[in-house]
């Protein structure tokens, strides 16, 4: 009776010491998972996921605090990419967070703008330039279309426009279903 107790207790203590030492000696540093999740998010920084930007959302996902279906700009493709990365089943976008929309940008109606700078403060990517009391402009190539600048504008001078699609940025469509009797 005594021997087994002694033996295993000794084992336990030794292992405990070892593991405790290991845990302190090799604490896990920054989580590369967050980077990889963040890389899959569209970086619109719109906050529709209920986090203040894409990176915080990525952190929340990696801690399993947020589900993977909360980013409307990323849409189904984004969710699938996340599901793939995390080895989960894809699921439809959570409608509470919004819905997937075509990409837009905003323009400021320069006639009506009073130069209040409120939109500049709201823009998460510094895509609006202008100084106080002077007319503001959106740098189209940097606008992510997050629409965060709309609510603060006191004179509603910011309009959403769809990103121009002309022949130049035309892409071949996904081969259609119609030809395929299999699916009719």
């Amino acid at each position: 009776m005594l021997i087994p107790v002694l033996v295993l207790t000794a084992l336990g203590i030794v292992f405990g010491l070892g593991l405790g030492w290991a845990a302190i000696r090799f604490r896990v540093q920054s989580d590369p998972l967050v980077d990889r999740i963040d890389a899959l998010l569209p970086q619109t920084q719109c906050g529709q996921c209920n986090y203040p930007g894409c990176r915080p959302y990525a952190e929340a996902i990696s801690k399993e605090e947020a589900d993977i279906n909360q980013c409307p700009p990323g849409g189904d493709a984004g969710i699938r990419a996340l599901a793939d990365l995390l080895g989960r089943e894809p699921k439809p976008l959570n409608p509470e967070n919004g819905e997937e929309k075509p990409k837009t940008v905003v323009v400021i109606d320069e006639q009506r703008c009073i130069g209040c700078t409120l939109c500049i403060q709201a823009c998460p990517v510094d895509a609006i330039v202008g100084a106080a009391k002077l007319m503001h402009t959106v740098i189209e190539s940097e606008c992510t279309g997050c629409d965060l600048c709309l609510p603060p504008c006191p004179v509603d001078c910011i309009d959403i426009v769809e990103v121009k699609t002309d022949v130049l940025c035309w892409r071949s469509p996904r081969p259609s279903i119609v030809q395929n009797p299999v699916t009719q």
Partner: protein, 215 residues
């Protein structure tokens, strides 16, 4: 105590404590069950043996009265043959031989053959085999009664020509689609009989030797 090592020591002590409790529990349960476990192990072997030889027909400690014989050329297999000897009041009654048939379809077939002192078979059981399920496995008692057909046979019944499957001109049935497995069993039992006939004296006279009871 430095700031870093304090929790380490604490957690290792805690782990030790858990180990201590666990082991204490285990040790006591082990104490409680040890006897019964040994008992059970014995009972299983006995059960197997008793399927061949009725418990009433002997009164020695069957499991303690064991020898192993090695005759690779005769048995055509390197594995030693274990022989349990049944005695009634010290008088030899029967021998249970665990022999191996080397020529099964998928390798060895281990058999228990009980032979009484007159050379008559008390019974045969397959201990382990790898024959194709559904084809060669009717040699098991669970699958068919075929193996009961050995009871009461002896070297004279049938004669040595008859100790073969029917397809080879003998007296034992083969199975539909499978001749190899029954052939192997018949041959092995026959060999056991021959060996017993030739060596029965020594078989009973050799002093016992403890072997692993595990079949």
């Amino acid at each position: 105590m430095s700031r870093g090592s304090h929790p380490i020591i604490r957690s290792s002590l805690l782990l030790g404590a858990i180990a201590l409790m666990g082991t204490a529990l285990l040790a006591s349960v082990n104490d409680l069950t040890r006897e019964r476990i040994i008992e059970q192990e014995k009972r299983r072997v006995l059960q197997q043996l008793n399927a061949v030889i009725p418990a009433a027909s002997y009164n020695n400690d069957l499991l303690g009265d064991v020898i192993e014989v090695d005759d690779e050329t005769f048995f055509q297999h390197p594995a030693p043959v274990t022989v349990y000897r049944a005695r009634m009041d010290g008088k030899a009654v029967a021998a249970m031989m665990i022999v191996t048939a080397p020529d099964g379809y998928n390798g060895d077939i281990r058999l228990l053959a009980g032979i009484d002192i007159s050379g008559k078979i008390l019974g045969v059981r397959v201990v382990s085999h790898k024959e194709t399920p559904g084809l060669g496995d009717p040699i098991e008692l669970e699958k068919s009664d075929w193996v009961r057909g050995f009871a009461n046979r002896s070297l004279q019944n049938p004669d040595s020509k008859g100790w073969a499957v029917k397809r080879d001109g003998g007296q034992f049935d083969q199975f539909t689609g499978a001749t190899i497995s029954p052939r192997a069993v018949v041959k092995a039992v026959h060999r056991a009989l021959l060996y017993f006939a030739a060596n029965s004296q020594e078989l009973f006279d050799t002093p016992a030797k403890t072997v692993n009871a595990d079949g």
